[in-house]
C-alpha cells in the first residue's frame, strides 16, 4: 500500500507539472501542437524598427498569423519580413501591411488592411503596399515643428 501511494503521488506530480509545462509552452510559448495550416507571405519595409520575430500579425485587431523571419535586402537596403498567415484568411493583391505599436510604448506588430482587388496573394507571394514603422520621436518632432 505504501509503495502504491508513492507511485500515485509521483504520478500526480508528473501530471500536474506536465500540464503546467503544456500550458506554458502552447499558450504562452506559441508552440503549435497541431500545426495550423498556414501560407507564407513576405513584405518589404524601409524600416521595421523594433519588430521582432514571433510578432503578431493582425487584421482588424484579430490575430491571423505571425512574423517568422526578418532579413535585410542588401541591394535595396530594405527590411524583408516573412509572415505565416492562417490559410483560411485570403489576402487580396492590394492588401496593405503596416507596422504599428500596441499602445504608446508597447510591442510592435504587423497590421494588415485588406484591399479590394479580385486577385489574391498566393503562397510565397509578396504584399506590395507597406507602411513603415512610425517612430514616436518622429511623430513628436513633427508635431512640434508644425505647431511652430
Amino acid at each position: 500500500m505504501k509503495k502504491k501511494n508513492i507511485e500515485f503521488v509521483v504520478g500526480l506530480f508528473l501530471i500536474a507539472s506536465i500540464l503546467s509545462f503544456a500550458w506554458l509552452s502552447i499558450k504562452l510559448g506559441d508552440i503549435e501542437l497541431f500545426s495550423k495550416s498556414t501560407y507564407s507571405v513576405s513584405a518589404r519595409f524601409t524600416s521595421i524598427s523594433g519588430l521582432k520575430e514571433g510578432a503578431v500579425v493582425e487584421l482588424a485587431g484579430v490575430r491571423i498569423g505571425k512574423v517568422t523571419h526578418i532579413a535585410l535586402d542588401r541591394e535595396e537596403y530594405e527590411a524583408i519580413i516573412h509572415m505565416e498567415i492562417d490559410s483560411d484568411i485570403a489576402l487580396q493583391e492590394d492588401t496593405m501591411a503596416a507596422i504599428r505599436t500596441a499602445g504608446v510604448i508597447g510591442d510592435k506588430f504587423v497590421n494588415i488592411t485588406p484591399g479590394g482587388a479580385d486577385e489574391l496573394i498566393t503562397n510565397n507571394g509578396e504584399i506590395e503596399e507597406t507602411e513603415s514603422a512610425i517612430s514616436l520621436e518622429e511623430l513628436v518632432s513633427k508635431y512640434i515643428f508644425e505647431s511652430e
Binding site: I6, S17, S20, A102
Partner: protein, 262 residues
C-alpha cells in the same frame, strides 16, 4: 611571510584538488546514467522525494512570488499608465528568472540538504563502504537515481512555479486591484515567446544538476573534508556547506546562462 605563502599554496592546492575530485565525481555519475540496469524503482522513489514532496512548497512559494510581482507591478506600472503590461511583466520575470531560481533554491533547502545529510550519514556509518564491499557501485546505486530524478524534477517544478506565479499575479492584479482580466492574459500571450520558456527550462535543468551534484558529492566526500569532523558534527557541517555552495552556484550560473542566452 613564508608562512603566508606556504598557507596560500596549500589552500590553492586543496581547492584545485577538491574541484577536480568533484568534477570527476560528476562525470562518473553522468556516465553511469547510461549504463544498465536502469533502476526504475529507485528513480521513482527519488522523484517522489525530490519532486513530488516539493510540490507543496513550490505552490506556496510560487503563488506568493506571483502575488508580490502583481502588487509591485501594479504600483510601478500605474504611474506610467501601462497597466496592460502587468501580465507580461509578471510572466516574463517569472519564466525567465524567478521561476527557475526560486524553485531551485526551494529544492536546495528541502531536498538538497536532505540528500547531502543522507549520503553523509551513509558515509559516517560505513554504509557506503558496505555497498562497495557488496560489490555494488555507490555511484550507480545511490547517486544516479538522484541525478535522474533531479534533472527531471527541476524543470517540471519550475513550470509549476511559473504557473502558480502567474495565477498569484492574476489574483493580486486582477482580483485585488481590478486590472482588466483580458489585458492581463493577452499581454502575457503576446509578449512571452518560446525562447523565454526555453531559457527557463535550460536554467532549471542546470540548477537541478548543480543541486544533486553538490549535495551528493559533499556528502560522499565527507571523510575527506578539511574540517576533519566525522560523525554527526561532520554531517551537519557538510550539509550547511552544501546548501551555501549550491545556492551560490545557482545564482552564479543563472547570470552566466542569462548572459550566454541573451
Amino acid at each position: 611571510m613564508r608562512n603566508f605563502v606556504e598557507k596560500t599554496g596549500r589552500e590553492t592546492i586543496y581547492y584545485v584538488e577538491h574541484a577536480g575530485m568533484m568534477t570527476i565525481f560528476l562525470c562518473s555519475c553522468l556516465i553511469r546514467i547510461f549504463t544498465r540496469p536502469f533502476q526504475l524503482r529507485a528513480i521513482i522513489k527519488q522523484l517522489h522525494f525530490i519532486g513530488a514532496k516539493s510540490v507543496f512548497i513550490i505552490i506556496v512559494a510560487g503563488s506568493f512570488t506571483g502575488m508580490v510581482l502583481g502588487l509591485q507591478g501594479y504600483y510601478v506600472l500605474q504611474r506610467f499608465g501601462s497597466l496592460d503590461m502587468i501580465g507580461s511583466a509578471v510572466a516574463l520575470s517569472l519564466i525567465r528568472e524567478l521561476g527557475p531560481v526560486l524553485a531551485a533554491l526551494m529544492v536546495v533547502g528541502r531536498a538538497g540538504s536532505a540528500i547531502c545529510a543522507e549520503i553523509g550519514i551513509m558515509r559516517t556509518t560505513e554504509q557506503i563502504d558496505a555497498l562497495e564491499c557488496m560489490g555494488i557501485h555507490p555511484y550507480k546505486y545511490l547517486m544516479v537515481p538522484k541525478f535522474i530524478a533531479a534533472i527531471i524534477s527541476l524543470p517540471l517544478l519550475t513550470c509549476l512555479f511559473d504557473v502558480m506565479g502567474i495565477l498569484g499575479g492574476y489574483f493580486a492584479a486582477v482580483v485585488l486591484f481590478g486590472v482588466n482580466e483580458g489585458s492581463y492574459f493577452q499581454g502575457m500571450y503576446s509578449s512571452v515567446v518560446w525562447a523565454d520558456i526555453e531559457m527557463g527550462l535550460i536554467k532549471s535543468f542546470v540548477f537541478g544538476l548543480i543541486i544533486v551534484w553538490v549535495a551528493t558529492a559533499k556528502g560522499f566526500f565527507l571523510h575527506l573534508d578539511r574540517s576533519g569532523a566525522f560523525g554527526a558534527e561532520g554531517v551537519s557541517r557538510i550539509t550547511t556547506k552544501a546548501v551555501v555552495l549550491s545556492s551560490v552556484a545557482i545564482l552564479g550560473s543563472d547570470y552566466l546562462i542569462s548572459a550566454i542566452l541573451l
